[in-house]
């Protein structure tokens, strides 16, 4: 079946602009995660959605970052007033059921802020 998809695959923007990154999780998966990965670094947790519960936003680095998950499916990560340090690969993952079940990752969106 279809895996996790993300769009766009690459995004180049100018400092100060807003960007939206999209994630389509695997159908039926109740949990959705966003991570950020800078070059040569590990994954940095950003936000976690589980069903209809309030999201765990503890990893969002600043109030310029926000995310929504509509209808328990598609999610959008929004970065306002982008900065050069926001440049990274943004990865989305989904899983079924409990918090520590296997996560299925998308290919990521490479964001470059000029």
């Amino acid at each position: 079946g279809a895996g996790v998809s993300q769009s766009p695959s690459n995004k180049v923007t100018e400092k100060g602009k807003d960007v939206e990154l999209r994630c389509d999780p695997i159908s039926g998966h109740t949990a959705l995660y966003w991570y950020r990965q800078s070059l040569g670094q590990g994954l940095e947790f950003l936000i976690y959605f589980q069903g209809n519960s309030a999201p765990d936003k503890s990893g969002l680095p600043s109030d310029r970052f926000s995310a929504e998950r509509t209808g328990g499916s598609v999610s959008t990560l929004t970065i306002q007033r982008t900065q050069q340090e926001d440049s990274a690969v943004y990865l989305c993952a989904s899983s079924y059921g409990q918090l520590y079940n296997e996560q299925f990752f998308g290919p990521g969106t490479r964001l470059t802020v000029l």
Partner: protein
């Protein structure tokens, strides 16, 4: 909170067995140990999970001693395509998401 410690990098020649050990001294009684693999320019993928003793699948084996304070991922007869970053994860506690950290960067040399 449970944390993991694993080597930053390892090198191996093709055809050798590679063992990557991860320490997790504060793992909770009921928690599993999970390993993910990340190839360059891709998202991580789950490779194996275990609770105790030994787990084996088509990709790897996972050895967990009785005290569960560490675990060893074993990759038999590695090839160049096994070059990747390997992450060892345990639940950090407090019903919080897994922390991926920097993992172990395995380089397989011909």
């Amino acid at each position: 909170l449970a944390k993991t410690t694993q080597p930053i990098s390892m090198d191996s020649y093709e055809g050798q067995e590679v063992n990557i050990t991860c320490s997790h001294n504060n793992i909770a009684t009921n928690d599993y140990i999970t390993w993910y693999q990340q190839f360059p320019s891709q998202g991580p993928r789950f490779i194996i999970q275990g609770y105790k003793t030994k787990v084996t699948n088509e990709v790897a084996s996972l050895f967990i001693p009785a005290d569960r304070k560490s675990s060893t991922l074993s990759l038999p007869r590695v090839s160049l395509s096994d070059t990747a970053v390997y992450y060892c994860l345990v639940p950090p506690g407090g019903n919080t998401p897994l922390v991926f950290g920097k993992g172990t960067r395995l380089s397989v040399i011909a």
